[in-house]
């Protein structure tokens, strides 16, 4: 199921202009006993070197599944990728052999996880785990690798790194653990770093520190950063652009400033309206009505139409494409103009 070259704009075909990582029309399905779960339905996004893309969406919107597909850590079966490409520097990762993908993992594209405690092996010291990256992939000796591990722990600002390198994951606080996870993931200087809700398990003050650290590491090494989150507050400061996902589709993508100022999709608008605001103290907090869609049985037409205040008749029959608003913005809503103008129907 290759895309024909006519689907690609000429700029994308020339390898020179190929973005660092491009996800193109990716579909992921899970074949379960209850039926086919369509977790990702045609997601496309790109990340360039030194660029931060925030993928925003609620639970079950397919943001993590997309990331796992990029990493190639989906369990297949039950997962199936019936369609789509994931191009890293022009090569389609999905067509690579398992060995070739193992080479990409960790070395070219790395990932950090939400819960750093469970993402670290409980039976080895953190130093052992960080230095393992160097021993396995760089062929360093034990002592050399350990030295590099201490350097890395310093780099992610773990105090007394030299002593703490011999500690086990459970002896660290949540924020420190996430730093160790980050140290492991950047050990081999990956070109793309995927952070899957890196701050969700942390408290607010620590969240900011971790985000700051990620942003700083990214500035230093010019990696492409994909930040997966459901927290609008987390992304505002660090992201360059945002892709909002709903029911396995990207419903809006835009530079971060535009999204916050003028959302062009009713879902994004709903999300922004649901943020508590001090100036509206005492009023009821806005909430998007209804429930997230059942991925086993997606609504016909636009997946968001049952919850949408801008709904018209054709929303129930025709799924909107990602309309281009400007060169860098898109919205998958038939009525994005009305949303932009802020005229809520009903």
């Amino acid at each position: 199921m290759n895309k024909t070259s006519t689907d690609l704009s000429p700029a994308e075909v020339t390898p020179g202009d190929e973005p660092l990582l491009a996800v193109d029309d990716l579909h992921v399905e899970f074949h379960t006993r209850a039926g086919t779960v369509r977790a990702v339905n045609g997601v496309s996004y790109t990340v360039g070197a030194g660029e931060t893309l925030a993928v925003l969406g609620e639970s079950g919107s397919g943001k993590s599944v997309t990331a796992q597909a990029i990493m190639g850590i989906l369990d297949m079966p039950p997962a199936v990728i019936p369609h789509g490409e994931i191009r890293f520097k022009g090569t389609d990762l999905l067509k690579l052999s398992e060995e070739a993908r193992t080479q990409v993992r960790g070395q070219r594209i790395a990932m950090i996880f939400q819960d750093a405690l469970s993402a670290l092996n409980p039976v080895f010291t953190v130093g052992w785990q960080i230095s393992e990256m160097f021993r396995v992939h760089r062929g360093m000796s034990k002592s050399e690798a350990m030295k590099k591990a201490v350097e890395l722990m310093d780099r992610v600002r773990i105090p007394a790194a030299k002593q703490r390198v011999h500690d086990y994951p459970h002896q660290f606080s949540g924020g420190m653990r996430q730093r160790i996870m980050i140290a492991m993931s950047i050990a081999l200087d990956p070109e793309v770093l995927i952070a899957d809700e890196p701050t969700t398990a942390l408290d607010v003050t620590v969240q900011a520190q971790i985000m700051e650290l990620l942003a700083e590491l990214q500035r230093e090494s010019q990696m492409g950063l994909i930040l997966i989150t459901h927290d609008l507050g987390v992304v505002a400061d660090v992201a360059d652009k945002i892709a909002v996902m709903y029911a396995g589709r990207i419903v809006e993508n835009a530079p971060v400033y535009d999204i916050y100022k003028t959302p062009a999709h009713p879902y994004t608008k709903g999300l922004l309206d649901s943020i508590p605001r001090v100036d509206l103290k005492g009023q009821d907090l806005y909430a998007i009505k209804g429930l997230p869609p059942n991925l086993l049985d997606l609504p016909k037409g636009c997946s968001f139409h049952p919850r949408c205040p801008y709904r018209q008749d054709n929303c129930e029959s025709t799924a909107p494409q990602l309309y281009e608003i400007s060169g860098i913005r898109g919205s998958a809503c038939h009525y994005w103009r009305e949303v932009l103008d802020g005229e809520r129907q009903q």
């Binding site: 990493m71 850590i73 193992t102 080479q103 990409v104 993992r105 960790g106 070395q107 790395a110 990932m111 996880f113 819960d115 469970s118 993402a119 670290l120 092996n121 409980p122 039976v123 080895f124 010291t125 393992e132 990256m133 396995v136 992939h137 600002r157 773990i158 105090p159 007394a160 030299k162 002593q163 703490r164 011999h166 500690d167 086990y168 459970h170 002896q171 606080s173 924020g175 420190m176 996870m181 492991m184 993931s185 081999l188 003050t205 620590v206 520190q209």
Partner: protein, 324 residues
């Protein structure tokens, strides 16, 4: 404001970490010292720390140590060599305890004490080797089956079920009787017990691996470029080892008991080799005339089996505090 609240904030560890350069040198040292004190806190060191304080573990460990010494250097305990036929004297058969022969003499006039001491070696050898083989074979297959799943898992799991369907003593009896005389009797007992014993270890290892496999750190290891072998032996194995070790320790005792049973039934260790089971079998016919030749090996056997099972229990408690 009658009760001023103490200031909060500066004590937060996370706040400190933001500005590591401002952390004073003594504070750094203190942190280092704390880290050192709490340093050896892996599952195994924790378990060891816990074990050293358990009377049950200490008692069983002492018994096992004595048994080990007994099987390596039996001459430390007795000057009589029971493998030398000249130490037996038929005219003193079934004599009661006497100064040189504390446990009396058996049907053939041999010293029961010396034979009991020398019997430890075969029990320990058979117990240890059977456990090693079952743990290695069952453990390795268990990791692969649990990790690979699919066909490999299905085939090996069904295979273990076939072995589970065989009554253990009957199965071992069958194997030992069939190959009797073709191999060293001790080796035969080890093989017979190992063939029937590995599925247990397999199942436990497989279950532990399947649990560990779905944990985040395995997925994270994959995401950071670890290959299948590395994931199996660096990430899955150490995290699945605890239950296997517990079962292995308990099984060791069970295998020793099984060896005695096989020897008692006449298909295990063969004379002139010495085994507690064999001694019990020999003494059984004249039990009413002379009970000591049966009682002593039986007591040693019970104590040995008990010691290993006790140690297994203690190890389990130490490795899985939730079960306490």
């Amino acid at each position: 404001m009658s009760n001023p609240t103490p200031p909060v904030g500066p004590g937060l560890p996370e706040t400190q970490t933001l500005v590591p350069d401002t952390v004073t040198e003594p504070a750094k040292q203190r942190a280092g010292k704390q880290a050192k004190a709490a340093r050896s806190a892996s599952l195994w060191t924790d378990a060891w720390y816990d074990l050293r304080r358990r009377p049950m573990f200490i008692i069983s460990m002492i018994i096992i140590l004595i048994l080990l010494i007994m099987s390596f250097w039996p001459s430390l305990f007795t000057s009589v060599d029971p493998y030398n036929a000249r130490t037996c004297d038929l005219s003193t058969a079934r004599q009661g305890p006497s100064p040189g022969h504390l446990f009396g003499r058996d049907n053939l006039g041999c010293d029961v004490y010396a034979r009991t001491i020398y019997g430890a070696r075969n029990s320990i050898v058979i117990g240890v080797f059977t456990t090693l083989i079952t743990t290695l074979v069952g453990g390795l297959l268990g990791i692969v089956a649990g990790f690979r799943s699919g066909v490999v898992d299905t085939v090996s799991s069904r295979l273990t079920e076939i072995f589970f369907a065989i009554p253990p003593i009957l199965g071992a009896l069958l194997i030992a009787a069939t190959f009797r005389g073709r191999a060293n009797s001790i080796m035969l007992v080890i093989i017979a017990l190992a063939v029937l014993g590995w599925p247990m270890t397999f199942r436990i290892m497989r279950a532990a691996v399947i649990t560990a496999k779905n944990q985040d750190f395995v997925i994270a290891a994959r995401a950071l470029g670890a290959g299948a072998g590395r994931i199996m032996f660096r990430h899955l194995l150490p995290n699945s080892l605890a239950p296997v070790i517990v079962v292995a320790t308990i099984n060791l005792g069970t295998f020793i008991a099984a060896e005695a049973a096989l020897s008692f039934l006449g298909v295990g260790v063969q004379s002139p080799d010495i085994s507690w089971g064999l001694m019990i079998a020999d003494a059984r016919n004249r039990f009413l005339e002379a009970s000591l030749p049966l009682v002593f090996p039986a007591v040693f056997l019970s104590i040995t089996v008990l010691a290993f099972i006790m140690m297994g229990d203690a190890v389990r408690d130490a490795l899985d505090p939730k079960l306490r």
